[in-house]
Every structure is written in C-alpha cells, then in structure tokens.
Subunit: 142 residues, 2 copies
C-alpha cells in the first residue's frame, strides 16, 4: 500500500527519530511511504529550493495517491492538521499516533473519522501500525 | 457577519493577547465571533468539562454557520490546520495572519485557497482584517 506519513516539519523536529523509525518499519513490511521527506533530516534544506506553492501542490498530489495516512501528532503542527483533514475529506483512512503527555488537539482526539493510538514504546507503535495496515489490506482484498 | 476565529489552544497560548485584540476588533466593527472561547484565558479549564468529541462537534457545527474564517497561524497548531482545511473544503473564505519570523506551514503559505497577511503591528492587523471583512460584505451584497 501507499502510505502518506505525516509529521511535524516547521512545528519542530524533536521526534525525527520516531518518524524515521516509523517510515523504515512501514517499508520493511512491504509498503511504500510516499512522504519519506518527512523523515529526512535535511528536509528543510531540500524544501528551501522549492516554492511554498510547490510544496503544497506536491503534498496534496501525494495524498491523492495514498491508500492511507499515518500521522504522528504529539508535536503541534498546522501542516499535520491540514493533511489529516484533507485525508478525512477524501475518505482516506487515518491513524493518529501520540505519546503519553502530548497535548493533542481535540480536532484529532474528538474526531470520529480517525483512529487513535497512544504509544509508550516503539514496539507498541509497530504493533499498532502493522495491525492498521493489515486491517486495511483485509478491507481492500475482502 | 459570523466569523470563525481560529488560534492555538493546546499548541501554546503565547499569543493570547493578540487573539483577544482580534476578537474585540471584529466585534467592534459589528460582526460576531462564533469562537470567542479561543480568546478566553480560561478556555482549557472550561473545555476540561467537555469530552473531546463534544469539542470537535461544537467547533465543526460553528464552522458550518460561519461566513468566514480568520486564523492566527504564527504558533504551530494541529487544530488550526484542521479548521483551515475544513473551511477550504466548505468554500468558506479564509484569512491567515502571522508575525514576521513565524515558521508557518507550507500548507498555509503555499495554499492557493487562503488569503495571507504578515503583520508587525496591531494597527496593521486591524487594517487587513477590516479590508477582508469589507471585501466579503461587498461580495455578499453585490
């Protein structure tokens, strides 16, 4: 499946290592991450060569081709919120992951259209992400 | 007009005084701010008595009744991003305001469906907000 991974870029990169772990894990299970730039330590440098309009258009085009969206929502991020809503509007399944103590928006926690998962360990994260991907495959393949 | 004002709550309240100024200014010009709770210093205490689902449902219902959305986007906020996208999807006019030096998301800066304004002073902010509201009224009243 084609996965749109969403995580904070300009909102802060404190969880970059988690983004990298998640993207590697998804790929290791045979799926494609369309937004691997989110896990690239150099993303802001790379994107500084693009216009804001180009970044927006790229991300919305990638979303159109996604089977699902997986977001790490622990760090407040306007872009992540925008992408989650864009996926919901397109009926793309959404899984939102967050750490204990994160002050996650009610637009995520109270949203009936997204799946939620609080994780304390990377192993717990992997288990949930895998279950989410398998459940979608089961739906697609009947 | 009925204005949906959007600003960071759980993402951080450092700009609360700007939110309060904006809401007061909009009201002083004869409009209604449907989301005055965003400018309430006690909002988190008030909302702690609500479920996450109630907060989400309230905000989405208020958006349905809005003539426009005005967002302060200087502080990264997942909820603000979600609300901007929700307004865009409903063809509700959006104005996004930000301070110099704010690291604003490309989902806002590169978004062809929202109006942008960088402000350095509250007077500059007022002028732009008023021009936005007057332009909408001109469209509505022909």
């Amino acid at each position: 499946m084609k996965v749109f991974f969403s995580g904070s870029i300009r909102g802060g990169r404190e969880l970059l290592s988690v983004y990298q772990h998640l993207c590697s894990f998804i790929v290791s299970k045979g799926h494609e991450v369309l937004t691997e730039h989110v896990a690239d330590p150099q993303v802001e440098k790379v994107e500084s060569a693009m216009t804001e309009q180009e970044i927006f258009a790229r991300d919305m085009a990638l979303l159109e081709h996604s089977s699902c969206l997986i977001a790490e929502v622990s760090i407040p991020s306007t872009g992540v919120g925008y992408e989650i809503c864009s996926a919901v509007q397109r009926n793309i399944p959404v899984l939102c992951l967050y750490r204990p103590g994160a002050n996650v928006s009610a637009m995520v926690l109270g949203n009936p259209y997204v799946a939620l998962w609080q994780y304390s360990t990377l192993e717990g994260l992997d288990t949930k992400v895998l279950a989410f991907l398998i459940s979608l495959q089961a739906e697609i393949w009947g």
